[in-house]
Subunit: 420 residues, 2 copies
């Protein structure tokens, strides 16, 4: 049907027109609909049949503007096609961590998908200090599988080039190019400087030639390195989890880009949680050390798990001795190449993590972990520390020998005093 | 008209059907046609109106197979569309160094273009020991303009992404991926080992984990780095020149790839000429030193000219203080980024130059500079030296501080004895 913005009232009748919904629901007159979109970009509805709680779906509709700003910030509805294709591709590679797509309607810019009933946005759980014992294992599996199987290391060259073309997403990439890689560093009017952040902390970002050159290099890699199909926005708000399960949602920013961008996005958000939890745990009357230790350990396990699983997939794919570099005549060359490759992804991961952290402090979009701290001094301390960590990560991204060394630096710089 | 392989006899009648030819020729009955294709891939005809030598064109037709192998090696005729588009785009950016396109016929896989009457394939001139006083200046201009104006440093993000999609050329890229980056190093049956080359020189290439890992990194960059629209095959056989003018022809391998690939291809071929000319100059009764010095000086001038002109275009484009990294608040950040950027292109240039050199020694396609040396010992010496230079360039590509240091290494390793 031609595009129209759906309402909760209109949704049951619309769903009844979709053939796949006939087996999902038995009574379209008895559907309860709740609008739960968090307000930034899209509308999200949860639909449940009364008396049959297992008969439930999630409906997400993209409207042709940025919802939180209004029609003055137009956004193509085409992004829903991107999201549906990405959900299907990632779901095929990693069904246990991607919600199933039941139906999609390109004209309506809408997807009907698996409702995650017992899962919560990971960021909110982390803010509350919850431990997710399987998070790092699941996210590293998701990263390893989605990045390996969409890369030149696995796909035939023609298939990979066709996949790159099919994943083009210039409009959403432009948002990242501007909001992650440009505006935070050039004093753009889109920035939102936190109330307590000292001007010298902002200047340290914006009038710092080595830092700005490094950010430029990451931006250039983001724009030119067609390594793998990325999620493109893999922060902790794009994950829904509980103690047993982890799902990665909202891949509307998906495109072919550098692998480290997805890995770095997730790790950056763990580091942001880390600097926030010093205050949040104390505020809740708890010793911050154990939870913060878990957050850093999760960063270690995310990287190490990703690396181990990615390499395992790669070695298995090349088990016959022939692979990306050709036949491995001496039995060592493929491993030496793999090690060099992982060093490259690791440096990218740190560089992108840093950009993601910096933009969340001074740029337009915040993270609630930090921005939600009402004590201005405590919030500012977390912000200053996040910036200091990010600066070190991006400038030293080629020098770190291990994620352990990175985490040690995060701990050290995470204790930066406010007047440093 | 539907595709058919043109013959010299059929060409005048065909040309008469093309409207743009009506102003080029006044008598289609009086056209002399000579087939001059060098035999690898395409047919090339030179057409001149008798009694009017200024009425002349060059016609190039792609046939659906690799001409030198035959119909058993099919190649899409689509490559002529790629070539025509590349000729037009490069011609618009650099008309003084790209032959003008008069007419193109996609169905016939054919282009009618400016005939370069007084120019000779550069490789043949170099083999004969000719000095081209404007070569480095012209090639560096061509490289700077074609690479800068097609990159993210100049184009708007959407335009650049559309350009990448429009320049897709998977079939020809595959040839490079195989013949430049894979087969030479894995003892592929496509290799053609020179008669005198010692097995240890081949093993040094093929059973050398750091070298093969480095080649893998260059291959990966070739396949993933959509930096600029490349010529894609910029060796000295793709250049026609005389003392005053220089034209870059045959961009059928054009696609969006890493800038260093084009720069490196050209410099690699100067280094191959360098190792060949030790013997060739002596054989002609001349002291090899001056000509070899000119070749190395040309490599220096090609890189330095490219860097200087590229930076000049970039600075001019960002003269208002806003550019790729955003607003330059401190007045130094843009320059620091530019310097880092050029270091990256420089390292890529050396790495790609090395791959191009190695494949020309052990791979399927040779360069006549070396393969045309009939004295086997002299040819072998040139080959061993080329491989030694290439090995050093790729392994130390991030360590060289200047093209001067590179050329010093080329001189040193270019004196490697055969039994080294």
């Amino acid at each position: 049907m031609p595009f129209q913005v759906l309402t909760a009232a209109a949704l049951p009748a619309y769903l009844a027109t979709l053939p796949p919904m006939q087996e999902r629901f038995t009574d379209f007159e008895a559907l309860d609909v709740a609008e739960v979109g968090d307000g930034n970009v899209n509308f999200v509805f949860l639909v449940t049949q009364r008396g049959a709680p297992e008969r439930t779906v999630c409906v997400k509709q993209a409207v042709p503007y940025l919802r939180c700003v209004g029609e003055s910030w137009p956004l193509t509805r085409h992004r829903m096609d991107v999201e549906v294709r990405a959900l299907r591709e990632f779901g095929a590679l990693c069904p246990q961590h991607v919600p199933a797509v039941y139906a999609a309607d390109s004209e309506m810019s809408l997807v009907v998908m698996q409702r995650l009933c017992n899962h919560r946005i990971l960021r909110l759980g982390l803010i509350d200090g919850l431990v997710y014992p399987r998070m790092s294992d699941h996210i590293s599996t998701y990263l390893a599988r989605t990045l390996f199987f969409t890369s030149d290391l696995y796909l035939a060259p023609d298939a990979k080039k066709a996949a790159v073309a099919g994943a083009s997403n210039p409009e959403l990439c432009r948002i990242t190019e501007d909001l992650v890689f440009t505006h935070p560093y050039d004093d753009s009017p889109t920035n939102a400087y936190p109330p307590g952040l000292p001007p010298r902390a902002i200047e340290r970002l914006q009038r710092n030639p080595p830092l700005r050159a490094a950010v430029g290099e990451m931006k250039y890699a983001f724009m030119t390195a067609t390594e793998a199909r990325l999620h493109g926005d893999l922060h902790t708000g794009s994950v829904m989890a509980n103690a047993e399960e982890t799902f990665v949602i909202d891949p509307e920013f998906s495109f072919y880009g550098p692998m480290g961008f997805d890995v770095g996005a997730f790790i950056a958000n763990l580091f942001l949680a880390y600097v926030a939890q010093e205050h949040r745990q104390r505020d809740a009357g708890r010793d911050p050390a154990p939870y913060r230790e878990w957050l850093l350990q999760s960063a270690v396990e995310t990287w190490e798990g990703f690396e181990r699983k990615f390499l395992a997939l790669w070695r298995e794919h090349e088990a016959d001795g022939t692979g990306f570099i050709g036949r491995d005549l001496d039995g060592e060359s493929a491993e030496v190449f793999r090690a060099a490759f992982m060093r490259h992804v690791f440096a990218d991961t740190l560089g992108f993590a840093a950009c993601k952290m910096m933009r969340r402090i001074v740029g337009l979009a915040k993270v609630a972990d930090i921005a939600g701290i009402t004590d201005v001094a405590a919030r500012t301390l977390a912000e200053v520390r996040a910036l200091r960590i990010a600066e070190h990560l991006i400038l030293s991204r080629h020098a770190f020998g291990s994620i352990g060394a990175v985490v040690a630096a995060v701990e050290r710089l995470g204790a930066t005093p406010l007047d440093a």
